[in-house]
Amino acid sequence: MAGQPLLEIHDLSKRFAQRAGREPPPWVIQDLSFTVGEGEFLTIIGPSGSGKTTLLNMIAQIDSASGGSVRFQSQIAPIADPKALNPGLSCQIGYVTQEDNLLPWRTTLRNVLFPLEVQGRLNDETRAHAQMLIRAVGLAGFEDHYPHELSGGMRKRASLIRTLVYDPPVILMDEPFGALDAQTRAQLQEDLLRLWDLGRKTIVFVTHDIAEAIALGDRTLVLTRAPARIAGEHKITIPRPRDIRGIMTHSEFGPLYQRIRAELQ
């Protein structure tokens, strides 16, 4: 499944800045290396506080690294200097954050169109694409609602398709379904897999939920507690399309779940 590495993370490290007169601060992330292939759905799982968000922030170029490099399509991203950061790497890396970060003064539709608008790509074709995505995640009829009028799940959907709409080659997702109830969560996982099946984007999906990591990914990386290092790597060969709600009954699921849980201890 994995083709050419699209994204290469090499020896990436992060520590808080030194404070005057104190011992050096601990590493949040230390010498982390992995690659993500084109069209791959990579899940990263780690205990809370293991620097997962920091990792994604660095890849998304909204936070600088203390060491190491990030390459996208073999080009080195300017990641060391906080001033040279290029958030989103010129719209090539999308980022679905834990909070939906919808603009509260824009309606659902206008939130979804926001990236197209600022990129100057708003036309009939992209507009139709946005409408299609809105229908695909069941937000039809809510286009003119403001974020505060939507439920948590709906806001999540809107924030998801706001990233999908401009088609970045890589999408980072930071526990996007973390705060939702189990039912909504399963529904959104299904939606995500369905959408992913349409375009087969490259996705880096961070979670602390083992079942979610297995259910969604082609491959999963297990991180240790801070400083984050890779504790294990697993290919997930459960065939697609997958049945999210019934995934626990698949023969591969149980042993994998146990192994990952052991690595997380």
Binding site: K14, F16, S48, T53, D63, P82, T97, Q98
Partner: protein
């Protein structure tokens, strides 16, 4: 950790050099003060002390005024008007929502009148008060009182409305009667709101007194300002202005001190949030 913002580098950097940054900030602020005084001095030299009293001249006159008691006398008139008006306006304004707490219909009837009174330009009543109460202290007290009243009324009302019904129920379950509830639940809960109103009303009370004095009076700081302007004595005007500003600053400070003593139970973050707003 769960946010897009958490940039450890920049946070750390700020915290790391905090002492140094603070020193630099204080230095910058001192520099700005020096520059401001220099500009003032330069302006008074360019236009002459006739138009703009010099900083030194103002300082000399100010201390003269304080030493001779002249300035203190006028200040005390203004202060007295402001304090009397403040109390006459604030006490019933704070009490009314309490008395009407169990009578929502009366509160509702009053509402449009209170909103109208709150929005109405009270300072425009100054000539009327001068007409009714003469140019003495009474007209100023009346103007200050009516200005303060509406501001404090709405803050006290907000305090009553913010009341947590669950707390009242809890107290009632534990056997509290109506008076206990009012004293131990409603009042403490409303105090922060009332103080917000007092803090807002404070500068208005001094401003109201000064404006009434500007329009018609024979003593007080507003009168001093008007007198200085009529005699083309800008230094005198500046001295009076400095005195007024001092009162406002001291007034603000004392409201804050009283508030902090009365509201020790509040989490400090809350207080910070409010003063920061």
């Amino acid at each position: 950790m769960a946010t897009l913002e958490g940039s450890p580098d920049s946070n750390g950097a700020i915290r790391g050099g905090r002492a140094g940054a603070l020193m630099r900030e204080r230095g910058d602020q001192l520099l700005v003060l020096v520059v401001l005084i220099a500009i003032w001095q330069a302006l008074s030299m360019i236009y002459g002390v006739y138009w703009i009293g010099s900083p030194w001249g103002v300082l000399v006159r100010f201390s003269e005024g304080v030493l001779k008691g002249e300035l203190l006398r006028h200040t005390s008139y203004t202060l007295w008007e402001a304090v009397a008006g403040f109390i006459i306006g604030a006490v019933p304004a704070a009490a009314l929502p309490f008395l009407l707490r169990r009578r929502p219909i009366i509160t509702a009837i009053l509402d449009p009148f209170m909103v109208g009174g709150y929005g109405a330009p009270k300072l425009a009543l100054a000539p009327l008060f001068v007409l009714w109460f003469g140019i003495g202290i009474e007209s100023k007290v009346a103007l200050v009182a009516i200005t303060v009243f509406f501001i404090v009324y709405f803050s006290a009302l907000a305090g009553i409305r913010s009341l947590d019904a669950k707390l009242v129920q809890m107290a009632q379950v534990m056997g509290a009667n109506e008076r206990d509830v009012a004293r131990h639940i409603v009042f403490p809960g409303a105090v922060p709101y009332i103080f917000t109103g007092l803090r807002i009303a404070m500068p208005y009370s001094i401003g109201g007194a000064v404006i009434a004095e500007l329009i018609s009076a024979n003593r007080g700081l507003g009168y001093l300002i008007q007198l200085g302007a009529m005699n083309f004595d800008t230094t005198g005007v500046f001295v009076a202005l400095v005195a007024v500003t001092c009162i406002v600053i001291v007034g603000n400070w004392s409201v804050n001190v009283v508030e902090r003593r009365l509201l020790r139970w509040r989490p400090p973050a809350d207080l910070k949030l409010e003063t920061g707003a």
